[in-house]
Symmetry: C2
Subunit: 154 residues, 2 copies
Amino acid sequence: MRLDLGDYLPYLLNRAGTKIAVSFTAAVRQYGITLPMWRVLVALHYDEGQRMGQLGRLTSIDVSTLTRIVDGLENRELIERRRGDGDARSVRVHLTASGRSLTERIIPLAEHYETVALSGFSADEAALLKDMLRRLHDNMDELDETELPLANTG
Amino acid sequence: MRLDLGDYLPYLLNRAGTKIAVSFTAAVRQYGITLPMWRVLVALHYDEGQRMGQLGRLTSIDVSTLTRIVDGLENRELIERRRGDGDARSVRVHLTASGRSLTERIIPLAEHYETVALSGFSADEAALLKDMLRRLHDNMDELDETELPLANTG
DNA sequence: GACATATATTTGCATTGACAAATATTGTAT
DNA sequence: ATACAATATTTGTCAATGCAAATATATGTC
């Protein structure tokens, strides 16, 4: 009764993801930001003016962690918080001009990494892989909603 | 010039990986261990007596972090370090009987998560996905060996 | 065999991260 | 209007993380 790591999906997923993340962390470092910061910037570039909760879900970052990342980006004037949009509890996060500019300088690098990761993949294969990753995510989403798992204490 | 997150591989990869990781973290917590601890245990169960360096590479955990995770597991007597195997610099990490037993109690749960993640996938699709993830990892490996990337300061 | 270089692991230290509690605001029921 | 639950964000606190330096051993050179 042994788990074959080399054929175990969560392992392969984590391994591939970590590999890209470590590599890209080194790359964005040259622009003076961390990987989580990059994720926030590109998520805002993709969808401007999100609220903290949305942004946390989109980036897979816990909101309490996100608060501090946003603090850091705000201190560097790459983004700004805007309060009071009907609901005064919420905050809208916006890119500043320089935040937008920095993000757009990094995007080509990000695309390059994707290209490298997918080298040897046909366009069809790449599309298929992405689709499967979306299905994976959706499957786990459903799990969260139903099966809140409990230990087998027996 | 905008990066479409919903079709950007590193994003999809991170999102799917994080989702499984968060969910499984909650699950193993009931057994009194963290996700990184689980990764170490299952990596040892898969290949007993690894050295720190190997184990770090296999689990995608930095060795300095790994040292402390191994400390924690050793304190709970789930694993043990054995020194001096020809090369006295190195350490071999072994599961104890109770470490093995704990790991084997969790393996079915781990397999369940994989099954859930892959629900709706045919066996062929699942095999294809895993194969693609291996190719992805190998592609990034080659990048590390060649392209040590520098900022475009221009 | 002493000396420089390489490899394996651990430790120091500052940063990051996550859970839980606190704060602020909104919506709802009475 | 008041009280109570729900939602959005931030803060407190402490453990986890990762880089760089330190330590220990091994290997190669002269």
